[in-house]
């Protein structure tokens, strides 16, 4: 497996943990942060972060 693919696979696992794991329980509560509900904020931010990291991994290439 190429390094890029390995990193993306690792990112996949991280995303799995972020979005479909008991970790969700930590943010699954009716609270707000900076005026925004926590869970949507967490999900969208996490989602954006995963995409950004994927972009970065691909951009960096196999170094």
């Amino acid at each position: 497996m190429e390094p890029v693919h390995r990193r993306l696979a690792a990112l996949f696992v991280v995303a799995l943990v972020l979005f479909v794991s008991p970790l969700l329980g930590a943010v699954n509560r009716p609270a707000a942060w900076a005026g925004l509900p926590v869970l949507p904020l967490y999900l969208f931010a996490g989602w954006a972060a995963v995409i950004a990291v994927a972009w970065a991994i691909l951009r960096r290439g196999p170094r």
Binding site: L8, A32, W47, V50, A54
Partner: protein, 1050 residues
């Protein structure tokens, strides 16, 4: 103008715009620039994932279930992180195999048969049709919502129908341009990418307007929402009827599978993929698109709820602007939703029609296929199927009416598609996966889908009794479709997913393990030992994809493509047109066509080998070569009989190389090159092909030029004069002539005819064949020499035998002659002694005794004279005979008077006859012309005959002499009244030294030469002499002498 007209116009214009974009894209592609060969276009085309369900339904779901809409997009995000690895492998596999759809993929993965593909196609058609219906429903509903008119009661008044027809037209034009589905549809992809851009921009623009213009900004919207206790449940999972955590996970899993395996996704992902590298940017680009289009879903839903917008939350995007009087924005929203629906329907209908064509229509067509050209039929069928798929969706939309919300239908389709995940991905990655496992898993999964999702949803709509849902079929609680085997506490999707894991994945793995060990059938048709020409492949492809595409495919192959590669290219192209399973079936039946287009490479000795295994193989082949040559030379040396030797060698070639038809032609003495010995040829051809060698025939060319002539494919043969006769009996597809050379000269031709299709004869094989031919030539020459020697010795033997017989005969004759001569000598000496004795005794008497009586003395002297005369006559006879024998007897023929001759002879004989009291008569025909003969000799003959007659006449007998004219001859007969000659001795009469003695008289009456001399004389005179006799009645001698003719000469 009313809003209806505007909306219809807008929709029409929009679809028109799509046509224009597609058209431009196609033109550009034809010009050589692919407008879709771009990673961003690829990402946008993948966004066909976002349908009107996303555009309208997400808002609705957010409004009712909070964050429950998100897993639908998180799943794809997760999967696409694996795009460069897992998906790339999938795409590469599909590209390599010419796979065009998920059923095709399964057939490619699990080999032989149509069942799996058919099942998969059925599942997908059943699973996706509601989804298409959903899109049409959205279009129709939003149209009515926008124009404010009541929902169209009639079919013709239903905007969804017209939209459906427009979509179908687009799909047919740009999605079924050619039959080959692996070929990309640039126009369609460009249009879909454009639509994805449109729906994203529209959603963001409208969302922005809704949130910031209506809602007062993101912060404000959330703040107001958080203040509402009833809305708090929307921000957490598992609270108050919202999405639960298990459902969250389930939806993520379902969507992760669906984003790859939904027909439209698979089509865009694998089939329309221009290059694998585009998957890299798609890893984050596509999720980014999904993130962007979802950013404002929740706020928009909140604004809709906060503004207490009327109507279904599904259509907030249209109803909100309409509430605010912003018809223009509502139109914009309609266009966004319309885009989403359009792209989904177009791509899904093309994808579904492809799989229906490949797995249902083509197998049916192929049942009756007899090699006919199906390219047009198939293309029309594909277009019809597209129309049918869209109309089926429309029909379903009319049927379900308003009973389902958008999201439920969408998830139903997702669930159906998820059933393919184990078969596809385990098939790609797990070597132990078997066809039986895939079939079982898929069947059970589908049954589960029908039972736990489809039927309950029908039940909710009232088409199936509600008791089925609440109490299970026949009241069996364990069978309750949403609490199967007592599994309760889960939402329907999770319940379904859990049981899917058991039924589908479980049975798939279980059955695979049970049936493991059976290797998966070969994916490709193997042309073992066979090969094809480019023309064959072109010909085959033309029947399915039309000549233009076929030519293009064949032309794209490199110059020296191996038969296997040709076959694979053909299979790949066909797979694109009719699916992998059908393609395999076609190629197989093509290889088995009666004319046996596929052929064998008769490679007896491979080329230079690189590996050890190869060299061993080569060694074996060399060994085989040597064995064949050895056997051949043994067969040849064993027998010097040409035909047996030839038959033996032909049998050997037949046995070793499998040629069923062989011939040996030899140059015949007549100058014709005829078949001397053959295997499996017709007699008629054998007779016909015996012609002098000429350049008009292949074997003639071979003979004249003294070099092998190879025709590897008789369809390319040009010298057809005799070939047609041959082909009548034997379906010759290739042949090889090798000259039989001896001392640099052709003496014949050895031929092998192949019937198993065109054949490639390697140089090594041709050389071996030529060597065999030369050996045959040598054997023939040897056999011929041997035959010549034998014939000569036989002729000599016969000659010797003949000579020996002749010599024996001569010898016997000589001995007989010797005996006769001895006898003759004794006879002659006896005969001579008789008169000598008389003469001596009478002369002694006269000398010793004084014979006084003069009369007595005269008597004695007369006796002495008579005896002396007799002696003289005898000696004359002997002299004559020796002259005759020496050929020195002279004849002086003159014209004679026959009557005078005869009369003179008779007068001379009278005294002798008178001595015994006999007499002679003479009758001669009057007016006889003169004879042409030697008078002295004729008189001698007559004297002989008369003295014979006198000798044998009894006392007082009469001798009759007659002379008659008989033609140009005088026939003379001399008849006596003697005892006659026995019949069996008649032929001896004229022989020399023979005397037909009178049995009663023991002493001879002459030398026995008289008749022999007479015969010689008569023969010399040109006549004939013979005798007729009757015992006791006398003997008649006849002879002829020529008469003088008109000229006075003979």
């Amino acid at each position: 103008m009313s809003l209806t007209v505007w909306a219809a116009l807008l929709g029409t214009l929009y679809v028109g715009g799509l046509f224009a974009i597609a058209h431009v894209a196609e033109r550009s592609r034809r010009a050589g620039v692919s407008p879709v060969d771009n990673a961003w276009v690829y990402c946008l085309s993948l966004a066909v994932y976002c349908t009107s369900w996303t555009f309208y339904g997400s808002v609705g779901r957010a409004a009712s279930q909070g964050l429950g809409f998100l897993p639908i997009y998180l799943g794809p995000t997760l999967v696409f992180l694996l795009a460069p690895t897992v998906l790339r492998r999938l795409v590469a596999f599909c590209r390599a195999e010419g796979v065009t759809s998920v059923p095709d993929l399964l057939e490619a993965l699990y080999g032989k048969g149509q069942a799996l593909g058919m099942l998969a196609t059925d599942i997908l058609v059943i699973g996706i049709t509601p989804y298409i219906a959903l899109q049409l429903k959205a279009v129709g509903h939003t149209f009515d919502l926008l124009t404010g008119r009541p929902p169209g009661e009639t079919v013709w008044g239903d905007a969804a129908l017209w939209a459906a027809l427009g979509f179908a037209a687009f799909s047919i034009l740009f999605g079924a341009r050619t039959l080959v589905a692996t070929e990309r549809h640039e126009g369609m992809v460009a249009a879909v990418a454009f639509e994805s851009a449109v729906k994203l921009v529209v959603f963001l623009a409208l969302g922005g307007w809704v949130v910031w213009s209506l809602g007062g900004g993101l912060g404000t919207v959330f703040q107001r929402a958080l203040e509402r206790p009833d809305l708090g449940r929307l921000f957490v999972l598992g609270a108050g009827g919202g999405t639960t955590v298990p459902e969250w996970v389930t939806l993520t899993v379902l969507s992760a599978g669906a984003v790859v395996l939904l027909p439209r996704q698979f089509h865009m992902l694998a089939v329309e993929s221009v290059r694998d590298e585009h998957l890299g940017p798609a890893t984050w680009g596509f999720p980014a698109y999904l993130l962007a289009i979802n950013l404002l879903v929740l706020p928009v839903a909140l604004v809709g709820i906060l503004h207490q917008t009327a109507g279904s939350p599904d259509y907030f995007l249209i109803s909100l602007p309409l509430d605010q009087g912003r018809t223009d924005l509502a139109f914009l929203a309609f266009i966004g939703g319309f885009s989403a629906a359009t792209s989904m329907v177009i791509v899904a209908s093309v994808a579904l029609s492809t799989m229906i064509l490949h797995h249902i229509v083509t197998p049916l067509l192929l049942v009756q296929w007899e090699g006919k050209d199906l390219s047009r039929v198939l293309l029309h069928a594909k277009r019809l199927v597209i129309l049918a798929v869209v109309l089926l969706g429309y029909g379903f939309h009319r049927w379900i009416g308003e009973s389902h919300t958008l999201v439920n239908i969408g998830l139903l389709s997702f669930s159906a598609v998820t059933q393919f995940v184990p078969a596809v991905f385990l098939g790609l990655y797990w070597k132990g996966a078997t066809r039986a496992g895939a079939l079982t898993g898929l069947s059970l999964g589908f049954a589960l889908w029908v039972y736990t999702l489809l039927l309950p949803s029908f039940s909710e709509s009232g088409w199936v009794p509600r008791s089925f849902l609440e109490h299970g079929p026949w009241g069996v609680e364990l069978l309750k479709p949403r609490a199967l085997l007592g599994l309760v506490g889960l939402d329907p999707w999770s319940h379904f997913l859990v049981w899917s894991l058991v039924f589908n994945l479980g049975s798939f793995v279980g059955v695979s393990l049970l049936t493991a060990g059976r290797p998966r059938p070969d994916r490709h048709v193997q042309s073992v030992g066979g090969w094809l020409t480019r023309e064959d492949v072109g010909d085959l492809l033309t029947r399915f994809v039309g000549s233009a595409k076929a030519t293009q495919v064949v032309a794209s192959l490199p110059g020296r493509t191996s038969p296997q590669a040709l076959l694979e290219a053909a299979e790949r192209c066909l797979a694109g047109a009719v699916g992998t399973a059908s393609a395999r079936a076609i190629v197989q039946s093509f290889l088995a066509w009666p004319r046996e287009r596929a052929v064998e490479i008769l490679d007896v000795f491979g080329g230079v080998s690189r590996t050890l295994a190869e060299s061993r193989e080569t060694l074996e082949r060399r060994l085989r070569e040597l064995v064949v040559l050895h056997d051949a030379s043994q067969a040849l040396s064993r027998s010097l009989d040409i035909d047996r030797a030839l038959a033996e060698v032909l049998r050997l070639i037949h046995q070793e190389f499998g040629f069923d038809h062989l011939a040996v032609r030899l140059l015949e003495p007549s100058g014709k090159l005829g078949i001397r010995c053959h295997v499996g040829l017709g007699e008629e051809y054998v007779a016909l092909s015996a012609v002098p060698p000429s350049a008009d025939t292949y074997f003639g060319t071979c003979f004249l030029e003294g070099r092998p002539v190879v025709v590897e494919d008789t369809r390319e043969a040009t010298k057809l004069i005799l070939f047609q006769h041959l082909a009548r009996d034997v379906p010759v597809t290739a042949f090889l002539h090798a000259p039989m050379l001896h001392e640099g000269r052709s003496i014949g031709v050895l031929t092998a005819y192949a019937t198993r299709g065109p054949m490639h004869f390697t140089d090594e094989f041709v050389n071996l064949f030529a060597a065999l031919a030369n050996q045959l030539g040598l054997a023939v020459v040897n056999a011929r020499l041997y035959a010549e020697v034998q014939a000569y010795s036989q002729a000599m033997e016969e000659k010797v035998k003949l000579r020996t017989t002749e010599l024996e005969q001569v010898n016997a004759r000589l001995r007989e002659l010797d005996r006769l001569k001895t006898e003759f000598l004794s006879t002659v000496s006896h005969e001579l002694r008789t008169p000598l004795t008389s003469i001596r005794s009478f002369s002694e008497i006269l000398l010793r005794y004084d014979v006084q009586n003069p009369e007595r003395r005269r008597g004695f002297l007369r006796i002495i004279q008579t005896e002396a005369e007799r002696l003289t006559r005898m000696i004359n006879d002997l002299l004559d005979l020796s002259k005759i024998e020496a050929g020195r007897l002279e004849f002086l023929p003159t014209a004679l008077d026959g009557r005078a001759c005869l009369a003179a002879a008779v007068e001379l004989a009278r005294p002798v006859l008178a001595e015994r009291g006999g007499s002679a008569t003479l009758e001669v025909e009057a007016d006889l012309p003169p004879l042409w003969a030697d008078g002295d000799r004729l008189r001698q003959v007559l004297a002989n005959l008369l003295s014979n007659a006198a000798k044998f006449s009894p006392e007082g007998g009469v001798v009759r002499v007659k002379g008659r004219r008989r033609g140009a001859y005088l026939l003379v007969s001399v008849a006596d009244q003697g005892p006659g000659i026995p019949r069996h001795r008649l032929h001896e009469v004229f022989e020399r030294y023979t005397q037909v003695r009178d049995p009663q008289k023991s002493h001879p009456l002459g030398t026995g030469l008289g008749l022999a001399i007479s015969r010689e004389i008569i023969t010399h005179l040109g006549g004939r002499i013979w005798v007729e006799s009757e015992l006791g009645a006398g003997t008649t001698f006849f002879f002829t002498v020529p008469l003088v003719d008109q000229d006075g000469r003979r």
